[in-house]
């Protein structure tokens, strides 16, 4: 509890938001706050200024293109995504969001915040890499598109650098996705998770086993092939109170295989 002193702005446009970020080097975006407020309570980080993105309409909304491409505003909450009929075009998104934490967190937490937090135990980073999402990153100098596999740079670090914002998430069409995890208790924090996508090839992306999601591409969707591929990836996962590195390595194989199996079923 009890945050350090901080200044606050609630811009109404993206331009204003980027302006504040440019003006205050110690400023940080505030999305759903479901990670950032905790970080500030622990005073693990104490930004000078919070730029509340909740008043910016262009960062919200879900659009489904005629080709099945989904355009997600980063300020879309998990609850909005779960309830969106458009988002069902890529069912894994809603399925996974429904497993994140609890109702209250899902009502506030946003998909943009989830990926920008780049917490290795979060659910969405591996999903985004598996489905081949693209992230639009905007700054005062312009915008660029970063593929998901290049977006995650480290724990709490992403390609959306200081002064920049994630402004759009694009999800290509596809259906055969699967997700599996071993959480601490039902819907708890993940010990290891994996997202798989079989849209033209086999792609499995593991979470919780490194600072950023780890993608592996097994030769086939066969369980043994998947496990071999994970083994060959030479994972170097952390050891903590919930799991030793060995256990995480083992679980990585299991959940990878399960995610692929589910992807095979999820047509």
């Amino acid at each position: 509890m009890l945050l350090s002193e901080v200044a606050y702005a609630r811009p109404a446009t993206l331009e204003q938001a980027l302006g504040v970020l440019a003006e205050h080097p110690g400023a940080r975006a505030l999305a759903g706050g479901q990670t950032l407020v905790n970080v500030m309570k622990a005073r693990a980080a104490s930004p000078d200024v919070l730029v509340d993105l909740s008043g910016i309409p262009e960062l919200k909304g879900i659009e489904l293109g005629s080709d099945g491409t989904l355009e997600l505003g980063p300020m879309t909450t998990y609850t909005e995504l779960i309830g969106s009929s458009e988002a069902r075009a890529r069912p894994i998104l809603g399925e996974v969001c429904a497993q994140i934490a609890d109702v209250q967190v899902r009502n506030r937490g946003t998909i943009g915040g989830n990926v920008c937090a780049s917490d290795p135990t979060n659910h969405l980073p591996p999903v985004m890499v598996a489905v081949g999402a693209e992230f639009r990153v905007s700054g005062t100098g312009g915008e660029r598109t970063v593929p998901a596999e290049e977006f995650f740079l480290g724990v709490y670090m992403t390609a959306a650098g200081p002064g920049e914002l994630l402004t759009k998430i694009t999800i290509p069409p596809g259906r055969s996705d699967g997700f599996a995890s071993v959480p601490i208790g039902v819907d708890g924090t993940c010990i290891v998770n994996a997202a798989a996508s079989l849209n033209g090839g086999v792609r499995v992306v593991l979470g919780c086993v490194g600072a950023t999601p780890v993608a592996v591409e097994p030769a086939s969707a066969d369980a043994e092939a998947v496990r071999d591929a994970v083994r060959d990836a030479d994972l170097d996962p952390p050891s903590d109170v919930h799991a030793s590195a060995d256990y995480r390595r083992h679980l990585a194989e299991v959940v990878a295989a399960r995610a692929v199996e589910r992807a095979g079923k999820g047509s």
Binding site: M1, L3, S4, E5, V6, A7, Y8, A9, R10, P11, Q16, G19, V20, H24, A27, L30, G33, Q34, V37, N38, M40, K41, A42, V49, L50, D52, S54, T79, A101, D102, V103, Q104, V105, N107, R108, V186, D187
Partner: protein
């Protein structure tokens, strides 16, 4: 664009309008408990896990320790104090008592807000939906079993 370290905000809580000057860093739960003396909502953790501070903010269930008070400017908030009428408990509150769904009563306000939010959206929830709806509220006294029973009874 200006940034502020404190600001006078207006909130409507349980139908009453309040204006208070708050520091930007103040959490909504502290506005409610300390500044407005609405002490029904509680604090049981410092990481947004326990849900004892759950309130309904603009018709959305949130943990008020995970929202800044300044973000609630202009909002309408419902807390446990607003549930019952003058003498009349809501069916849910009554069911909590009937089914012994509370012991120390510390988690109860947050639990009731979660259950209230559930029943508004889904008046006839399944067992699984009830459990999911209160997943964000920790109770250390009851083991939740009687809470399920109470919510189920109130939904019938």
């Amino acid at each position: 664009m200006d940034v502020v370290t404190s600001q006078t905000i207006g909130v409507e809580v349980n139908g009453t309008t309040y204006e208070r000057e708050v520091e930007a860093r103040r959490l909504l739960i502290h506005l409610l408990r300390d500044d407005l003396d609405l002490t029904g909502s509680h604090i049981g953790c410092d990481t947004g896990n326990c849900g004892a501070c759950s309130v309904i903010l603009d018709r959305t269930l949130v943990k008020s320790c995970m929202v800044l008070a300044i973000q609630a400017d202009g909002a309408s908030i419902e807390t446990v104090e607003g549930l019952a009428g003058e003498e009349q408990l809501t069916p849910l509150q009554q069911a909590f008592s009937d089914h012994h769904a509370l012991q120390c009563g510390y988690c109860t306000p947050g639990m009731l807000m979660s259950a209230t939010a559930l029943l508004r959206e889904n008046p006839k929830p399944s067992d699984e939906e009830i459990a999911k709806a209160i997943q964000g509220n920790i109770c250390r006294c009851t083991g939740y079993w009687n809470i399920f029973e109470a919510i189920k009874a109130a939904s019938e």
